[in-house]
Amino acid sequence: MARKLSRRSLATYVSETLLSGTGRAKVVRELAAYLIESGRTKELDLIVRDVNYNLAQKGIVGATLTSAFALEAETKTAIERFIAAHTKASKVSIDTVIEPSVLGGIKIGLPGRELDQTISHQLTVLKTRYKKA
């Protein structure tokens, strides 16, 4: 039986494989196979977070954009520039998620931080911050 790899080792392997130019789909399949075989599928989110962190350290930032409507190309570009400026990343990789419940605005998820400018978030802030105890 193979030795159990630590989560950090897995993340390092995945990020280095991605940086070496190996296809993303192949790396994802390998990782998924390993996690299923070793019964560690619950660690997937943590491993993805660690991979994103490692990639960010190398100048490649993966961002998740959540919005109520599909983003226009112009808006996406502006967001990429914004992220690159703030993270000093050489490359920005973007995943978009359409979530009508955010009502409007944008939520940018970056490794280790998040910028939430959605209307639903602002309404939540309004309801919680100004609520009297």
Partner: protein
């Protein structure tokens, strides 16, 4: 008796003043002697006993009188003591009654004071509770209003916000975040 008669018969012939008066001096002398003997006997044997008896009786009477006087004095003294005790008892009773009245009035005053204080405290607590309740209701109303405003905004924005407006909103958010 026969001797006396004999003397009387022998003396009868002598006529003197005693005879003239019908007095037989011998008989008189005998009578005197007999009387003296009688007196002597009485004085020797009867009077002392009689006097002793009388003296004893007198002594008893005197003793009884003294005892009665003592008893009367004691009774008078007792009456005085009883009267004094009664007066003292009346005075003490009057003092007790006045003290009881004073204490009862003080107790009533204290009770009234306590009741007044308690009532004031109850009123103050009620005011404070009402104030708290009003404040809580205001807070609840404020929070409910806030919640309603949020819900209404969600509904309005969800139904009116279009893709174009959303793009403008995002551009503005990015601009503000720079």
């Amino acid at each position: 008796m026969s001797l006396i008669t004999q003397f009387a018969e022998t003396a009868a012939p002598q006529e003197d003043i005693f005879s003239a008066l019908g007095i037989d001096w011998r008989l008189l002398i005998l009578q005197i002697i007999a009387f003296l003997v009688l007196i002597f006997l009485l004085g020797k044997f009867v009077y002392p006993w009689l006097m002793k008896s009388v003296d004893e009786r007198q002594a008893n009477i005197d003793a009884a009188n003294q005892a009665a006087a003592k008893a009367q004095a004691a009774a008078e003294k007792n009456n005085e003591q009883v009267a004094e005790l009664l007066a003292q008892a009346r005075q003490e009773a009057a003092e007790i009654v006045s003290t009881a009245k004073l204490e009862s009035s003080e107790m009533v005053a204290t009770s009234e004071k306590k009741a007044k204080k308690s009532a004031e405290q109850i009123v103050a607590e009620a005011h404070a509770q009402i104030g708290k309740d009003v404040e809580n209701v205001r807070k609840q109303l404020y929070n409910d209003t806030l919640e309603l405003v949020g819900l209404a905004t969600e509904k309005v924005v969800g139904s009116t916000l279009g893709k174009k407006a959303d793009s403008e909103l995002i551009a503005k958010a990015i601009k503000e975040s720079k």
